[in-house]
């Protein structure tokens, strides 16, 4: 599906901390695309072992569904949604 902006599209801000492994950024970008969101802004700071990523996204699907898919990525350490903490990693 192509993440087009519609009237019901909403902006979301996510902060994600990931293990700095070779494909980390590709993984998170791919999940965002496949699950129907568009990246409007992205900032990445390499803190050595960890990548600190902040994202501004647009999409009309429930963002909680995106969060639970991003959290499933093995190299994601924490994920925070605009001020609120997404639920901690569950079994997966």
């Amino acid at each position: 599906m192509s993440p087009t902006t519609t009237q019901s599209s909403t902006c979301h801000q996510l902060a994600c901390r990931m293990q700095a492994e070779p494909a980390a950024l590709e993984r998170v970008c791919q999940v965002i695309r496949i699950r129907g969101f568009r990246i409007d802004q992205m900032q990445v700071v390499n803190e050595g072992e960890v990548l600190a990523i902040t994202l501004q996204l647009t999409g009309d699907r429930p963002v909680s569904m995106l969060c639970s898919q991003i959290e499933k990525l093995h190299s994601v350490l924490t994920l925070t949604l605009a001020g609120q903490q997404a639920p901690a990693r569950q079994t997966a």
Binding site: P22, A23, Q30, S68, E71, L73, H74, Q90, T91, A92
Partner: protein, 575 residues
């Protein structure tokens, strides 16, 4: 020892005794280590390497091994084309949550990114079809990665983990692996199930819906106890077939696009739907808006991301299924549900609207897929493993073969991969050497991995093959007939090779049948023979799978044979 030896040693210490692979340039150090180990420890035993004849065959065989055994499957290939050939098999495992360890050689570290010979971006290419993947960038990190990969592939919701290892790293010296520490088993605790129980107790028409998650969690026993204690009428998804066993009186069969009327109607009428280890896939639910319209939903799954993904649940419990089912069972044992009228209604529904096969007993009548599958089900031993391919024959098996256990039914669910069946049967036979393993395939699917007949022959596997030959891509033909105005497009296979001669070319005996009175003897011969054998079954081109729900339509709009006669007059040739 070098890293290649280290890998094999680690696999063996983790109890892995069989791997499926195909050699080539960048993975040669691993094959050299295999050979060296073979020479060094003839007596002590080694990992058995199974050479399939295509890397897709390796991945699918490893998948079938894992499905039949419940253990991790391992496949190995070289860089470039070896890795790209694995992709379909790995995607297949990913979509069905099968634990796989995938190992590929990569071009040497210094050549990565130079468009070197047989270089492909394996890490990038495989991102969407793995649970996780690693490009190993130094030998020192390899031991930890191996441990992590093995446990990750098998924990929580299982899946494939891919290790891409540059050739120079395979050749780097490493100490021998330390003793294998069995990780402490994840605690099996149940979440609070009181709200789920309260909802079940309020219901007049509760229904149980189970999927592949039950056997992935090895929760078959807990599931059966719960099904018996609760007495819930129950339906299964394609991957849940076998969950209830053979003796469950409340079983209504598979639901969904080719589900039974009884199952789809029960879903339509129920007031509470308890979904266990299933992800509400579109082939099972049909049009989502009209799915279970009167039901409140309780959803139990190991993967929290599946809860609420497609349908909001009234009660969503991410959980370990064994413990959770046990707590539900205990509560219901103490105080059972009172749903007799509904149970009776569903049982009656299954008697009249379960799966029925039109049987033509006239000895010279042509064989129909359904009648054949019913006879197969009757004649095979209870623990036989059936590996299907994809198409009509796959659905006939799902509808008409009675499975006592989910690990006896190997079917490519999420990806629907034609060519799955033969390599999966090979993997299953390695996992279960004493059991009868039968690949039931179609003439289209068989040709997708027919090269694996050579693997059967080489390892003297007693795998049996049944080719249901309708001289066409039957499932596509059926949909063209019903939903595309009977315009056939590129489905004709009437120039198939002589399958009997083909099998014999691989030194595998084969026989062919085409009449009803040959069915018993054909299947009898197959089962009595203790080696590989092919049974070619000519069936009518026009056989369809009924019922069928039009893709995207609601599951209550099931079409059957009458739709065919009323709406799409069959071509004269067929009449």
């Amino acid at each position: 020892m070098n890293a290649a030896h280290h890998i094999l040693e680690t696999l063996q210490r983790n109890g892995i005794d069989t791997v499926f692979g195909y050699p080539g340039g960048c993975i040669m150090p691993l094959y050299d280590a295999l050979a060296a180990r073979d020479m060094a420890r003839e007596a002590a035993g080694n990992i058995q390497h199974v050479l399939c004849r295509h890397e897709q065959g390796c991945a699918l065989a490893a998948d079938g091994y894992a499905r039949a055994s419940g253990r991790i499957g391992v496949c190995i290939a070289t860089s470039g084309p070896g890795a790209t050939n694995l992709i379909t098999g790995v995607a297949n495992a990913h979509r069905d949550s099968i634990p796989l360890l995938v190992i590929t050689g990569q071009v040497p570290t210094t050549l990565i990114g130079t468009d070197a010979f047989q270089e492909t971006d394996v890490l990038g290419m495989a991102l969407g079809i793995v649970k996780h993947s690693y490009l190993v960038t130094s030998a020192e990190e390899l031991p930890q990665i191996l441990d992590d990969a093995l446990s990750l592939a098998q924990s929580g919701r299982p899946g494939p983990v891919w290790l891409d290892i540059p050739k120079d790293i395979l050749l780097t010296e490493l100490p021998a692996p330390g003793p294998t520490l069995t990780p402490p088993a994840a605690p099996k605790t149940s979440p609070d199930v009181s709200a789920a129980l309260a909802l079940l107790r309020q219901a007049n028409k509760p229904l149980l819906y189970s999927g592949g998650g039950v056997s992935l969690a090895s929760a078959e026993d807990a599931f059966r106890r719960f099904a018996a204690v609760s007495g819930l009428p129950n339906v299964v998804t394609l991957k849940g077939i076998g969950n209830p066993g053979l003796a469950n009186p409340d079983y209504l069969g598979m639901l969904g696009m080719h589900g039974s009327r009884a199952a789809n109607k029960a879903v339509d009428q129920c007031d509470v739907l308890l979904v266990i280890g299933a992800r509400l896939d579109d082939r099972a639910t049909g049009q989502l808006q009209t799915f279970a319209p009167h039901a409140r939903l309780i959803h139990l799954d190991a993967d929290a991301a599946e809860l609420g993904k497609l349908k909001t649940a009234d009660i969503a419990l991410p959980c370990e299924l064994n413990a959770t089912l046990d707590s539900l069972s205990e509560a219901l044992e103490a105080s059972p549900l009172r749903i007799e009228p509904w149970r009776q209604q569903c049982r009656n529904g299954f008697i009249t609207q379960g799966f029925h096969a039109a049987q033509n007993d006239e000895p010279h009548a042509p064989i129909t897929g359904t009648a054949f599958v019913r006879e197969l089900s009757r004649l095979t031993p209870d623990d036989a493993i059936i590996a299907c391919d994809v198409g009509q024959h796959q659905m006939w098996i799902a509808q008409h073969y009675e499975f006592g256990h989910p690990r006896h039914h190997l079917s490519s669910g999420g990806l629907g991969t034609m060519g799955f069946g033969l390599p999966a049967a090979i993997g299953a036979q390695f996992a279960r050497p004493g059991q009868t393993v039968i690949n039931v395939t179609g003439d289209g699917s068989f040709m997708m991995n027919a090269q694996e007949l050579a693997t059967i022959r080489r390892y003297k596997l007693p795998v049996k093959l049944i080719i249901l030959d309708n001289q066409c891509l039957g499932m596509v033909r059926q949909q063209q007939e019903l939903f595309y105005g009977n315009r056939e497009s590129e489905i004709n296979l009437d120039d198939n090779p002589d399958f009997v001669a083909l099998a014999r070319a691989f030194d595998i005996p084969a026989l062919s049948i085409h009449r009803v009175d040959q069915i018993q003897r054909g299947i009898g011969t197959l089962l009595a023979y203790n080696k590989a054998i092919v049974l070619h079954v000519a069936i009518a081109r026009e056989d369809n799978v009924w019922p069928i729900v039009k893709p995207g339509a609601s599951n209550i709009e099931m079409l059957d044979e009458s739709y065919r006669t009323n709406n799409h007059p069959i071509k004269e040739r067929i009449a």
